[in-house]
């Protein structure tokens, strides 16, 4: 009878082998699937007087080919790649927006100054004057158009933050569920629930597409998952939600919040990687900078033109008025400030000293500190009103509360708020003050010459540049970053491909291999059957002896 049992064990093993191979074939293209194999071993032998007699084969367990280290590499490279790819996509848009002949500011500004030069050559001609007004209008429209495109990107990033947060939350809660199921499966059978584990690893990989993700496998076979620099979102069977919350000082700017559902704290600053990290980084590094620089250019240009225009006299003999209306700088109270009636104010005093940075005013330990955000330069214990960088900052209270803070944005809204104040051709002040006649072009020459003067302060340095140069610097800085991101993204892609293919090399299904395995188990099955046939023949022989 032993021979039949041995044969039966061989049949069972072969059947399990074929079933597992079939499972592999069926899931060859299933995302996150890791190939499985049976762990085959000899059954415990039985002792006879003359030795141990083998009892056939058995399947110890079914395992998946999975390597923690390789998986970790895939997760890391996935988050890097999706971060740089979102950043690249964003900066490419900015890049083409700024540099485009038809969409950028550069060409219209050149045209505008050209028309001013033409008007200087023929100041009494109404048609020539009209060209100046029309080109000024085009320039204003271009500033606002570029700015509103940047605002649109800003709102896309808000959408990205909300979607990412929702996605991460849903995955995190699924992982917590799977943690529980996997823990129970292990403890009840002692065998690994391979397909559940695959699903969980796939979810981790999906989270890493959104944000940098770290997995800490626990003793009880659950995963603890954290994002950023160690913020836990899954602990055992519990998941912690993220929230999309408005920024403390800018309610139009969504941040990632973490903590109690009633009062989540913003953690955007410590998040990197993934589509979410890429979008946040793009907003902080590129979008804010470009929009502020555009605003700085708008303010500096419009103020310089206004100032010179007011030195002149128009065709009606009246002193020139402002050519452009400029949107003022903005000071926003932090929404955690205890008394919202205590407010800060900001005004521009000298556009040529203006930087493209935002500033933070804070009242801590009995003193006001001001931080220039771009380079984190701090003025400590300042006396208000504070005059620096072409702006003056003040508050409306003599009894500030400890911890109160304000965000000062001198330039961000300037490009969107720029409008044309003079639309009447006769109001163009091209003449000297007082005017000596209708062909007096003295002020027109000075207006045209503004384009050659170094009005725009570059990056809080002491060097100033012309309008065209400053715009070119912004454009080429974006170009350099876009070029760099493209290279980084290429490298990230290659790293991801390599990591994926290393992991696939370990865990992926190869159909040829499975075909070979099928043949192997099929033959084993046939051999076992043959063996049972022989055993049966042996019985027949025995039984026929009694006839």
């Amino acid at each position: 009878m032993n021979v039949l049992n041995v044969g039966k064990s061989a049949l069972t093993v072969a059947q399990l082998g074929i079933a597992t191979t079939g499972h592999n074939i069926a899931n060859a293209s299933t995302p996150g699937y890791n190939r499985q194999s049976i762990v085959q071993k000899a059954a415990a032998a039985q002792s006879f007087g003359n030795g141990y007699l083998g009892q056939g084969a058995e399947v110890g367990t079914i395992v998946r080919s999975y390597d923690d280290v390789l998986a970790k590499q895939v997760i890391n490279t996935t988050s890097n790649q999706s971060s740089s790819s979102v950043y690249l996509q964003g900066i490419n848009e900015v890049n083409s927006l700024l540099s485009d002949d038809k969409a950028g500011v550069s060409a219209v500004m050149t045209n505008f100054f050209r028309s001013v030069s033409a008007a200087a050559a023929n100041p009494s001609d109404i048609a020539t004057r009209q060209t100046v007004i029309s080109n000024a209008q085009s320039l204003v429209s271009r500033f606002t158009a570029v700015n509103s495109r940047l605002d649109e990107m800003r709102s896309n990033i808000n959408t990205q933050v909300s979607t990412s947060v929702a996605t991460i939350n849903s995955y995190a809660s699924s992982i917590a569920d799977l943690n529980e199921k996997i823990k129970q499966a292990f403890s009840s059978t002692g065998n690994p629930p391979n397909d559940l584990m695959d699903q969980r690893d796939l979810l981790v990989a999906k989270i890493s597409e959104q944000i940098k993700t770290t997995v800490l496998p626990q003793q009880d076979n659950t995963y603890n998952v954290s994002i950023g620099n160690g913020i836990p979102i899954v602990l055992g069977n519990q998941s912690q939600d993220l929230y999309a919350v408005p920024n403390d000082t800018d309610s139009t700017r969504l941040e990632v919040g973490y903590g109690a559902s009633g009062s989540p704290k913003p953690i955007s600053g410590s998040l990197t990687g993934g589509a979410l990290g890429g979008a946040l980084q793009f907003r902080d590094e590129t979008l804010d900078t470009v929009q502020n620089q555009l605003g700085q250019l708008a303010i500096t240009f419009a103020t310089a033109f206004n100032n010179q225009h007011k030195q002149g006299t128009d065709l009606t003999g009246t002193v020139g008025q402002n050519m452009f209306n400029i949107a003022g700088p903005v000071a926003i109270s932090n929404r955690n400030n205890t008394d919202q009636s205590k407010q800060a104010s900001v005004a521009i005093t000298d556009p040529s000293q203006l930087t493209s940075s935002n500033y933070t005013l804070e009242y801590v330990n009995g003193q006001y500190n001001i931080t220039r955000q771009n380079d984190k330069y701090v003025w400590t214990n300042v006396t208000l009103p504070f005059n620096q960088d072409g702006i003056t900052i003040n508050t409306n209270t003599s009894s500030p509360t400890n911890g109160d803070s304000y965000l000062i944005k001198p330039t961000q809204y300037a490009a969107s708020g720029l409008t044309l104040a003079v639309t009447d051709v006769e109001k163009l002040a091209l003449a000297d003050n007082p005017s000596k006649g209708e062909s007096d072009n003295t002020n027109a020459l000075k207006l045209a010459d503004l384009q050659n003067q170094n009005f725009v302060r570059v990056n809080a340095s002491s060097t100033n540049r012309t309008f065209a140069q400053a715009y070119a610097l912004t454009t080429s800085a974006v170009g350099i970053k876009a070029n760099q991101m493209s290279i980084i993204n290429q490298a990230d892609k290659t790293a991801l491909d390599n990591a994926t293919s290393a992991m696939q090399s370990q865990s992926g299904v190869n159909l040829d291999e499975e075909a070979a395995n099928l043949l192997r188990y099929q033959q084993a099955y046939q051999a076992a059957g043959k063996m049972m046939q022989i055993a049966s023949n042996m019985f027949d022989t025995l039984l026929s002896l009694g006839r």
Binding site: T110, N122, K436, E438, T442, S476, S507
Partner: protein
């Protein structure tokens, strides 16, 4: 190395997609004719391109202004050339009037002739340009430079134009400086001469007065002529300067264009040969992918 079936397909598609993107990139470059289409393509070159384009456009503006300046100056030159002819005419009439054999009525007919010349002169001094502006009125170009009696009523500022980076040039002349140079008023002088010629010579005193008066008139006319010729010489040298600036500007413009072309224009030979090469590679990759993916053990079971 062990390869999973997924990897085989993924590698195949990745390679094909990479090649497709390369081909697409080349196609875009070929259709735009530019190798640098945005700062991201080549930040260094593109910064130069922006700078050069800006400089080029400034130079173009100066060149346009120079055209305006030239046409204004040429306008003055044409006008003053007629003025010169008239003044030379007047001069010879005055010289002729000194002829001792002439009687009062002959002198009076010369005076009548001179009156006509004086009117022509004033009309030339009140000339307008193509835009209808009085050219000798300073900034008050809507007002005639001289009254019909030849009194300057314009304004004395000259219009300057920016004709190059560091060069502004006065491109107008005012009536007082051209026709009233050094306190010597051409029109008043003529008026005096006409009065003189209309005054009959009756005795030795009036003869002496006439001779002296005529000599002064001739002297003053010469001074006026000098002043007009000075102005014309100045116009000539200004036109010459503009010509030189134009030549230099053209040279620089040409250099800018050349540098721009070097920086941003596509080498078509290179690009087309690259495209042909990429296409060949892509075809090969497609064929190899199809034939590799056909290989499967399952076909033999």
């Amino acid at each position: 190395m062990r390869l999973s079936t997924n990897t085989i397909y993924a590698n195949g598609t990745n390679r094909l997609m990479g090649l497709q993107s390369d081909v697409n990139d080349l196609n875009e470059k070929i259709s735009s004719g530019k190798k640098v289409r945005s700062p991201a393509d080549d930040p260094v070159a593109s910064a130069r391109i922006i700078e050069i384009n800006n400089n080029k456009s400034m130079k173009d503006t100066f060149a346009e202004t120079r055209k305006t300046a030239s046409s204004m100056l040429e306008n003055y030159e044409t006008n003053l050339s007629s003025v010169t002819d008239l003044v030379l005419n007047i001069k010879s009439s005055l010289t002729a009037a000194g002829n001792a054999t002439y009687n009062d009525s002959q002198r009076q007919s010369i005076a009548t002739e001179l009156q006509g010349r004086l009117d022509s002169l004033i009309s030339l001094a009140n000339a307008k340009d193509s835009m209808g502006n009085f050219i000798y009125s300073g900034f008050t170009t809507d007002k005639a430079a001289f009254t019909s009696a030849g009194v300057f009523q314009g304004e004395t500022s000259r219009m300057n134009l920016q004709i190059d980076d560091n060069r502004t040039m006065p491109t107008t002349f005012t009536g007082d400086s051209v026709f009233n140079a050094n306190g010597n008023n051409l029109f008043a002088n003529m008026q005096q001469a006409i009065t003189l010629l209309n005054t009959p010579i009756t005795d030795a005193t009036s003869r002496t007065n006439f001779t002296n008066g005529l000599a002064t008139a001739l002297q003053n006319t010469d001074k006026s002529l000098d002043s007009i010729l000075d102005t014309r010489a100045q116009i000539g040298s200004q036109l010459n300067e503009i010509q030189i600036l134009d030549d230099t500007g053209d040279d620089i413009s040409l250099q800018y264009s050349k540098v721009l072309s070097d920086l941003q224009d596509l080498d078509y030979t290179q690009a087309l040969s690259d495209l042909a090469k990429k296409n060949t590679i892509m075809e090969a990759a497609q064929k190899s992918f199809v034939s590799t993916s056909k290989l499967s053990l399952f076909q033999f079971i």
